[in-house]
C-alpha cells in the first residue's frame, strides 16, 4: 500500500506548551486512520496542520508525493469535516455543498449536477433548499460530509465529526461513514476521543498522548496487545499484572508473574531478560476455572449483568483481577477457589 499521506517528525508548540511532539505517520492509499486520544493530546492540532490551518514548527507533511507543509489550506485540496460541521448558516444545503465548486470557477450547470449527485449519495436530495438551521444534527453532518467530498479531495480529514450527535444516531452514522469511505475509497484521517468509535471505523489507530503517538496499529492490536499502560487503560477496562521477563525467545517472552506463575506473551520489541514488566489483559479474555490451570486465587464477588457476569478475583499474590464471563457454563461464587488463565495472544506486554 503506497503512502498517500506522510507526516515526518512534525512538532508544534503553543508558547511553552508542546502540543505535537515529533510525530511520524504514514497513511496508505484508501486507508482509514483514527487519531485517538484524550482532549489535549494533540490530535486536533495534528489534524489542523495536515489541513493547513496551522504550520508545524518543524517536520514535513507530504501528500501524494508533494510537500504541503507550508501550503495554504485553499491550495491543498483536502476535504475537512469539522466538529460542529461549520456549515455556512446563510447558505442552503445545496449552496453549502456547491461552494467548493463555485470558488473553483466551475460552470453553473456542472455544479448543479454534482451537488445533486453529492446530496443523493448522503440521502439528502429532499433537503437541498433548506438552511442548516432547519436541518437536524444528523442531516447537518451529512451535508458537511457531502460538502467535503464533492470537491474530490485527495484526503478526507474528520475532526470529531460525530461527537455532537446522540448515541443512537452516532452509531448509525459510524456505519454510514465507514460504508461511504469504503465505497469512495478515499484516504481518511479521523480524530476522536471515543475509543469505541475509533475501533469501529479505523483500519489503523494512532493512540496519542501528550503530543506523541504512543502506539500505532490495527484496532485489534492496540486493544488486545497494548504496549503501554496509557494505551491499555485508555482503550477500556483492563487488568494489569506485575511480573518479570524470565526468558526471551524472539518476540515470545515468558513472564514470571508475582506469586510465581509463568505465562507467555509476545512483544513487538522484546524486553531484556530480568527486567520488570506488566501484562495487560482485558477482562473478557480472562477465564476463571475450578481446575488448577493458570494463576490461583479466590473469587471475591460475582455481579450478574444479564448478558455477562463480572467476577472479581484476587490472586494468591494479592493482585486484583476482573473477569467478564458468559452467564452460561461454570459460575463461580463468592469465596470459591479458582484459577485464572488467558490466551497468550490476548496479553499486552508493557515495559516499565
Amino acid at each position: 500500500m503506497a503512502a498517500d499521506l506522510l507526516v515526518q517528525g512534525v512538532t508544534r508548540r503553543f508558547g511553552e506548551q508542546l502540543a505535537v511532539d515529533r510525530v511520524d505517520l504514514a497513511v496508505g492509499q484508501g486507508e482509514f486512520l483514527g487519531l485517538l486520544g484524550p482532549s489535549g493530546c494533540g490530535k486536533t492540532t495534528l489534524l489542523r496542520m495536515i489541513a493547513g490551518f496551522l504550520v508545524p514548527d518543524s517536520g514535513r507533511i507530504i501528500c501524494a508525493g508533494q510537500d504541503i507543509t507550508t501550503l495554504p489550506p485553499f491550495a491543498r485540496n483536502l476535504g475537512v469535516v469539522f466538529q460542529n460541521y461549520a456549515l455556512f448558516p446563510h447558505m442552503t444545503a445545496a449552496e453549502n455543498v456547491g461552494y467548493g465548486l463555485k470558488v473553483r470557477g466551475m460552470a453553473r450547470a456542472e455544479i448543479v449536477t454534482r451537488v445533486k449527485a453529492a446530496l443523493d449519495r448522503v440521502n439528502l436530495a429532499h433537503a437541498a433548499d433548506r438552511l442548516p438551521g432547519q436541518l437536524s444534527g444528523g442531516m447537518q453532518q451529512r451535508v458537511a460530509l457531502a460538502r467535503a467530498m464533492v470537491i474530490e479531495p485527495r484526503i478526507l480529514l474528520l475532526d470529531e465529526p460525530l461527537s455532537a450527535l446522540d448515541k443512537n444516531l452516532r452509531e448509525e452514522m459510524q456505519v454510514e461513514l465507514r460504508l461511504l469511505q469504503q465505497r469512495v475509497g478515499i484516504t481518511t484521517v479521523f480524530v476522536t476521543h471515543d475509543q469505541e468509535e475509533a475501533m469501529t471505523l479505523s483500519d489503523r489507530i494512532a493512540v496519542m498522548q501528550a503530543g506523541r503517538v504512543m502506539q500505532l496499529g490495527t484496532p485489534e492490536e492496540v486493544y488486545r496487545r497494548p504496549i503501554s499502560r496509557f494505551v491499555a487503560t485508555f482503550l477500556g477496562t483492563t487488568n494489569l499484572l506485575e511480573g518479570k521477563a524470565a526468558r526471551v525467545a524472539g518476540n515470545t517472552v515468558t513472564v514470571a508473574l508475582e506469586g510465581g506463575a509463568m505465562v507467555e506473551a509476545s512483544a513487538p520489541v522484546p524486553p531484556t531478560p530480568g527486567s520488570p514488566v506488566q501484562l495487560a489483559v482485558r477482562p473478557e479474555s480472562i477465564l476463571l476455572r475450578s481446575t488448577p490451570e493458570g494463576v490461583p486465587g479466590t473469587v471475591e464477588d460475582v455481579l450478574f449483568q444479564g448478558h455477562r457476569l463480572i467476577a472479581l478475583f484476587r490472586t494468591d499474590s494479592g493482585q486484583e483481577l476482573r473477569s467478564y464471563m458468559p452467564p452460561s457454563g461454570w459460575r463461580p461464587a463468592r469465596g470459591d477457589r479458582a484459577w485464572a488463565s488467558w490466551p497468550a495472544a490476548e496479553a499486552g506486554l508493557i515495559q516499565a
Binding site: 489541513a51 493547513g52 490551518f53 495554504p72 489550506p73 485553499f74 491550495a75 491543498r76 485540496n77 483536502l78 476535504g79 475537512v80 469539522f82 466538529q83 460542529n84 461549520a86 456549515l87 455556512f88 448558516p89 446563510h90 461552494y99 467548493g100 470558488v103 473553483r104 438552511l131 442548516p132 438551521g133 432547519q134 460538502r147 467535503a148 470537491i151
Partner: protein
Amino acid sequence: MLGLPTAYFLLIVAYPLANLVRMGFSRPERGRVFGEGVSLANYVEILTSELYLETLLVTFRIGLLSALCALALGLPLALYIRRAPPVLRSVIVFITIAPILISIVVRAYGWMVLLSNRGVVNSALMNLGMIDRPLRLIFNETGVVIGTAHVLLPFMVLAILGSVQTIDRALEDAAASLGARPWRVVFDVVLPLALPGIAAGTVLVFILAVGSFVTPVLLGGQLVLTLPMAAMQQFNSTFNWAFGSALVGVLLVAVMATTLLFDRVLKRRLARLAAR
C-alpha cells in the same frame, strides 16, 4: 411590580415627549412661548417653506454621508480588530473608543486645525504640488460630514464588532479548505454574517448624525443649517417654542420613517440568516 418602572417611563420619557408634540400643534401668543390653541399651521409652514425643506434635505444628506463614511472606515477596522491577537485587540479597541472620552468641541477644533485653508491637509497637498488652491474642506457640508463621521466612528465599530465576533472561526477554515482565498472568505462568509451589525451600526450612526448639533455648528461655520440648528434658533433666539417643537416633530417622524423603511428592506435580506 410594573407600577414603578411605568411611572418612571412616563415621567422621564413619555411626558416630555408628549409636551413637545403638544407644543408643536400650538401657536405662540403674546408674552408666552406657546399658546393653548390647537393648529396645524406650524407644520403647514415648515412643509411649504423652501428653506425648511432644504434644511431637512441637508440634514439627511449629512446623516447619510456620515453613516456611509463611518461604515467605510469602521468595517475594515472591525474586521482587522477581529483578526488581531488578543492583547493587540484590546489596545486597538481602546484606541478606537478613546475619542468618546474627549469633548466633541475639542475634537471639532482639532479638525479645524487639520482642514482649514492653511491647515495641515491643504498645506501638505499644496506643498506636494497636487493642488494649486486650498480645497474647501471646512465650513461646508464636507467638513460637517468629516467631523460627524469621526465622532460617531466608535459606535459603528462597536456595532459591527458585536456581530463579527460571534462568527465561528471554523466557518472561515471551512471556506478555506474548500478552496476560497482569504478575500473570497471575507466576501462570501464574513460579510454576509456581519450584516446585522453593519445594519445596526449604519442606522445608529445615521440617527445620531441627523440629531447632532455641536459638530455641524462648529465645522459648518454659520454656512450649513441643519434641522436641529433651526430648532435651536426657534427655542433660543426667536423664542417661538411652538415652531421649534414642530421642527423637532418633523425631524422625529422623518428619522423614524427612514429607519423603519431601512429596517424593513434589511429584514427581508436577513430573513434567511435568522433561520440559523
